[in-house]
Subunit: 462 residues, 2 copies
Amino acid sequence: MTPGNDAVIDALLAREGEIVERLNALLRIPTVGADPACAGAMQQARALLVSRLESFGLENVQLLDGGGEPAVYGEWLHAPGQPTYMIYGHYDVQPADPIDAWTSPPFEPTVRDGCLFARGASDVKGSTTIAIETVGQFLATEGACPVNIKIFLEGEEETGSPSLRAIVAKYRDLLRSDGVLSADGGRASRTVATVNTGARGNAKLEFSLCTASTDLHSGRYGGAVRNALHEMARLVATLHDDAGNVAVRDFDIDALPLTGRQREDTAAFPFDENAFFEDVGASPAGETGYTTRERITLRPALDVNGMWGGYTGSGSKTVIPAKAHAKLSVRVVAGQDPDRVIGAVRQHLEHHCPSGVTLTIDHIGGASPASTLAADSPMVAAAERVLLTQMGQRAIHVRLGASVPITAIFQEMLGIGTLMFGYNLPDEPVHAPDEFFRMESIGLGLKGWTLLLRELRGTAPR
Amino acid sequence: MTPGNDAVIDALLAREGEIVERLNALLRIPTVGADPACAGAMQQARALLVSRLESFGLENVQLLDGGGEPAVYGEWLHAPGQPTYMIYGHYDVQPADPIDAWTSPPFEPTVRDGCLFARGASDVKGSTTIAIETVGQFLATEGACPVNIKIFLEGEEETGSPSLRAIVAKYRDLLRSDGVLSADGGRASRTVATVNTGARGNAKLEFSLCTASTDLHSGRYGGAVRNALHEMARLVATLHDDAGNVAVRDFDIDALPLTGRQREDTAAFPFDENAFFEDVGASPAGETGYTTRERITLRPALDVNGMWGGYTGSGSKTVIPAKAHAKLSVRVVAGQDPDRVIGAVRQHLEHHCPSGVTLTIDHIGGASPASTLAADSPMVAAAERVLLTQMGQRAIHVRLGASVPITAIFQEMLGIGTLMFGYNLPDEPVHAPDEFFRMESIGLGLKGWTLLLRELRGTAPR
C-alpha cells in the first residue's frame, strides 16, 4: 500500500471538514452517563449513531440492551472468506465538572491552536468517529470493506461497563468475531510508534486473623496475649522482602520470562521515570533486576489494598484487638493462571500464620488472566505495518499494567483479543477540564484506520 | 489489737441487722448513672447519704458539684497530730440489663444462700456502707475517730468519672489528705490475703505513614512504588520480636527490677492461668523470662490498639494506599516515666521508618505513671496487720495491670496514693445479672475497717 494512492483515503481527506462537523454534532450532545439528567442526551446520541450507521449501509443496525444504557450495533458481513473484526468505541463521556475550569464550554466544540476542545473529544468520540467514518467511506467508495465488520459502540464505558457482560451474554452469537479493533486506548507518543499487546490480569483475596474470642483490655491482658494487629503486621510484612521483592514462594509461577525484544521495547518506550514518581509523590520500590516499566507491565505484583482492625475512631481505646482484616490483590502476567498465583499467596499466609492465630480466607475472587495479543497476531502485524507506513519506524510492543474492563470481558466471554488503535495522545486531558483532541490526529487517524482495515484483509482468523 | 476486745466492733456487730437494712435502703434506689431516667434516683441516693453522714455527726457535709453527678462529702477533722485519710466509695451502679436474666428483681435486695442479691450490692454499695458505718460507729461509741476522716462518695464511677477531675480541681483544698482508703476494688480471694500496692500506668501515641501524595492504581503502579500498608506492617512488625518481647530499645527504661518478694507474691497469687487464657480464647505470648502474672502486672507492655488504611468497605478496590494509620498504647510500671517510654517508641518508629516513607506523629497523650504504694507505706502496713489478724497470714502484695481512673486522678491531682480495701470478691458477678455480695463479708468488713482505722492512728503522714 503506497500512500497517496488510496481512493478511500483521498475521499476521507476530501471530506475531512464534513467529518469534523459530524464529530462536533456528537460532541454537542452531553452524554454524561453518570448523570441521570443526561438520559435524554444518551438517547439522542444513540439515535444519531443509529442513523449514521444506517446511512453507511450497515445492516442489522440496532440497540443492544443489557439493562443499562444500550450499545449501538451495526454490521457489514459481505466479505466471504475474510476475517470478521468488531470495531469498538463508546459514545458516553466523563462528567464535565468543574465546569468553571473550562476555557470554552465543554459541550460547545471549539478549535484553538490546532486542537478541538470538548468533553469527549479525545475520550473517545474523536477516535470513534474516525473508525466508523472509515468503514462508511469504504462502503461508499468501494462498495465493500476489506474485512467483515461489526461495529459496537458502548454507552457505559465511563461508568464501569455495568451491563456489558449482560449485553455480551445476550448477544453472544451476534458479536462473535475474530478480534476487536478498539478506537479507545490511544497512542503512547506522537513520535514513537507503539502497539499495545496486552495487559496484566488480576485476582483478589481477603483474609482475617483472629487471636481471641473478644477484644481484650490492654490493662488486664497487655503483655501476655497475642494481638491480632501485631500478627497481621507480621504476616503482611512477610509478603515482601526489604527491597520490595514479593517473598511468596511460586508467586511468579508460569510467568513467561522476558524476551530480549520485550526488554528492548520496554526500554525504548517514551517514559519519564522521574515524573512518574514525582507526579504522585511516590518513591521507587520493587523487584530487583527489573526496570520500573518492566515492573509495572511485565512482572507480577502484590499489593495490600486495605487493612484494618481494632479501634479506629477518634481518641483512644486501650484494647487488644482480637481481629484484623486485609484485602489484597495481585497483578498477573502472560502465562500465569491467576488462581494458581492466589493459591500461592494463600499457602504463604497459611504457612506463616503462627499457632494460636486463626487465619480465615474470607473471599477469593476477581480472577482474570493477563490479556495478550500474540506477537504474531494478525492484528499486531497489521498495526505494525500501518505504523511503519505512517511513522517510518518499527513499532515497539508495550503492555499495560492493568487490563481495560472491555478487553477482559471480550477475552473472557468471546475468547477474542483486542487491538487498541485510538489516535488520542496521553497529554490530552481526558476526564479533566479543557479536554482536547488534536485536529491533525483526525486526518492521521482516517488514513491509519483505512490502512489497518486493508492490512487485515486476508489474514487468518485469530 | 486483740479481736473480741473492741467496743466499736462489738457495737457494729450488734447493729449488723440494722446496717444491712441501711444497705438495702440504698440498694433499693436504682442509681444507674448511665440512664437519664434515673436522675431522680441519683438525687434520692445523695439525699439519703447526706442525711446519713450528718446523722453520724460528720461536719461540712455537702455535695461537690463538678458539672455532672455531684459527689457526697463529709469530714471529721478532730484528731490533731493524726494523719487525714479520704474514704472513697461510690453510690452509682451499672445498668441492670438484661433484667430478665435476674432471679430476683435487681433493685429488690434479696438474700439467698448467705448472699445478698441486688445491683450494686458487691459494686460497691456493700463495701461503701461498711466503710461509712464504721466511721459513724467510732463517733457514736468513742466520740472520735482514730484519724482524721474525709468521706468522698462519687456518683460517676460506672460512667467513667467524667467530672471527677473538675470536682478535684474545684475542691482541691477541701480534699487534701494523706491517702485514700477505697471501699472499691475488693479482695482477690476468700482464702489468700492480698494487698494491692499499685497499678501499671499508660501512655498513648498515634502515628501515620505516607508513601505518596494520593492513593495509586495498582494496575498503573503495582510493583514499582511503596505501599503505605506494607510499610505500616513492616514497622509494626519491628515493635516485637518473634517470641513476643517488645523490641523497642530502652522500652523498659527505669523499670524497677522485680524483687524476690514480688516474684514470690506474684507466684502465690491465686490465679488460674488456663482459665485466664481459655475464657477469652487467647493464647500466651509475651516477654521471655516472666510468668503471665508478672507480664500483666509487673512488666511494661506495648499494644497496637487500632490500625487502618486503604479500602476497607465491601468488595474490592485495587488501590495502593498512600496513607496508613495506627494507634498504640503502652503500659508502664513503677519507676518509669511514661513520657520517656513513649519517647523510646517514637525513636524506634523514626529509626525504622525507611526513606521514601513519611512518618507523622499525630498525637501523644494520656501519659500517666504507674500508681504505687510503697511497700513501707503506712496504709500498706496497716492493711497487712488487719489481714494478719483476720486471716492469720502475711498478705501478699499484688499489683493491677491497669490503673483505676480514680486512683490515677487522686495520685496526679492530689499527690496521694490509694489503698484498695473493699470486701467484695471476684466471683460476685458485678456488671452482670444476679450480682450479689456475701452476707459474711459484712461482718468481716465492719471488723476489718474498724481495725484499719485504728492501725492508721499514729502513722506518719504519707
